[in-house]
Symmetry: C3
Subunit: 269 residues, 3 copies
């Protein structure tokens, strides 16, 4: 589904996107979801996650500030999401940095039917079993393109490896998304929020194939470009409010994306 159509459906359906996410970037994630036209909800207690996932159109799991209770809740919510057939999107924040994160990402991928994994190059490379340098939650190196392809093949899910260029693969095809701006990497949580945007698109697209994921990232990156070009933006601080404005403006006028979506199909060996 292309970005314009997805944004129109999001606007019509106002899908509820249930997040179990980290407390560092949760506010940005919620505002990005709302700016995209969907309704964010955060709920983490084991006592209510199944019921909340039962109301949602997509489930986003982000392991940025894990603890054992949250892991159990992620499994409960994820199983409910699977039972209902709504897409589960996983952001494996910091996987490879600690064994808790690595084990948890593996457990979620093994016990749940995850539709999309979206992480930075180092995180995706780690999941693919490749060498990677992850420092805390930042990826410092790695070939994002082959990481996405190999992770998609080994995990059997759609994988997005985000960075200056985002790479998306379902194991068969591979797409490169060159929308975006360097200031996005200077705001904490823009990676987490890109995963939520994929969640919004997946919520209305039914399936969450490589094309839909790439279109979500192209819309998200295009908003970054628009924001970076706005009057008064002189750094990451002034960029962030403009970025939310741009997401909402594009969502309110999807046609303004025409000609500005840079998604390219790559040849896959």
């Amino acid at each position: 589904m292309n970005a314009q159509e997805a944004l129109r459906k999001i606007s019509d359906e106002k899908p509820l996107v249930h997040h179990l996410t980290n407390y560092v970037t949760v506010n940005l994630v919620a505002n990005v979801t709302l700016s995209t036209g969907a309704l964010p909800v955060m709920a983490h207690a084991a006592e209510e996650v199944e019921e909340m996932a039962g109301l949602a159109s997509a489930l986003v799991l982000n392991i940025g500030t894990l603890d054992p209770g949250q892991i159990e809740s992620m499994l409960l919510a994820g199983k409910k999401a699977n039972e209902r057939g709504i897409p589960v999107i996983l952001d494996p924040v910091g996987v490879g940095a600690t064994s808790l994160r690595t084990r948890t990402a593996e457990r979620l991928l093994s016990e749940l039917d995850v539709a999309v994994v979206c992480g930075n190059a180092g995180e995706v490379a780690t999941l693919a079993g490749l060498d990677a340098e992850v420092r805390g939650v930042e990826s410092l190196a790695g070939d994002a393109q082959s990481a996405a392809l190999q992770a998609a093949r080994s995990l059997g899910v759609t994988v997005a490896a985000t960075g200056p260029v985002d790479y998306v693969s379902d194991g068969g095809s591979a797409l490169a998304v060159s929308n975006g701006h360097a200031l996005m990497g200077r705001v904490v949580g823009t990676g987490d929020a890109s995963t939520s945007t994929i969640g919004c698109f997946a919520a209305v697209a039914g399936a969450a194939g490589a094309e839909t994921v790439a279109q979500a990232l192209a819309y998200y990156g295009r908003a970054g470009e628009v924001a970076a070009g706005s009057a008064g933006v002189e750094g990451a601080g002034t960029f962030e409010p403009r970025f939310l404005d741009a997401l909402a403006a594009l969502a309110g006028d999807p046609e303004s994306l025409d000609g500005n979506v840079r998604v390219e199909e790559l040849s896959v060996g």
Copy 2:
């Protein structure tokens, strides 16, 4: 108490407003409280909530990201607040969406002497036992005016149902507050923060009757109007910083509210 007088007292007394609130909007809630002239404090551990509530002038309970430990802490803090006679303000975020939230709101209302309930139309309707559509934490429909009146009557507390027009009732009278701007609904947490503003007003007003609550919401809505008219505001992202500026500017110059507070008494059947 009218808004001008309340803001002057808040500036003089710098009341401490203790919050047990959700982690999604906590930063905005704290900044709104500070901008209004009060001192926010967040503390949730059972080991310290009674002591912190013992220092505070108002207690705000927000069930947006509940878990069992937080519920117990809310009851401890609430009982301490009741013992001391400081107002307890409840924001029943997402009540009706899950049974945990519904049961918890009912339990807090039953075990504590709550002074004010402030929620969106759907949440208030749910508490009043009326039909309502709550999707996650967003209310999508409902007659806010009758919801506020009926909830106030059935719960025996002052109730505010916020929306494009806010309705406040103590069961006897009913007030409509038409200050505000549509951009407020596009920023995550403006509902939560309106409840904190009521907490600030209640902290200095002693009682938290319908008039005081309506005046708090009028001040809050007026700040939204001022912010929306500020240079450079093009969406929710750029609105939020200006909104904090406007809250602080009005709090620092309460007379600028003269003639700009739109609170209307409604005839009640």
Copy 3:
């Protein structure tokens, strides 16, 4: 180490600064750390804090929203940091307001080898055993200079007492930092984030003596001055994005600090 040299080293080394911090200001703290050029990571689970501290170049402990699990994790992470010889920086938020906070700060100072304590005047005075008025997490009075000196002497660590003028002492010497702007006190979390900036400087300086701490605060305060003078800043709301921009701009061009660092050595009785 002076600010210019520290910022150059931070830019070169991109140190990972591990935080166990409060959920109120965590987003600002992370963005300030990133704007300074370091990499923030937040991880609080007992299951991973030692491993994460094992990857970090500094550890920041902030007791703003304590609970028992977090205290245990702080001790685990702190012991690992001590074992590795990386600096531990403690922000005793709200110490003196509740006994949980006071006991915890004392316990952390007793069981860990803390390099720097950074708090407001009331918090530092409390740790020094002096009279202080702490309302929630705000300090309302107190002689910051003597508090810093006495706390440094009684605790045997470098102590910073922040306020309109920041005072830093290692027990022997005392420094006054007069950079800063009043708007910094109107944004929730600028105190917490100043502690993180000290963490960034300590991460690359090896030792965290009074001069390094004062230089970190001078850089931080200078960014506040630059931000306050930016176009369009009319209050705390519009100040905050500009503050992040200014931190990043100064970090990217350390020479622009030349002649603008106001650190003065005080005569100590």
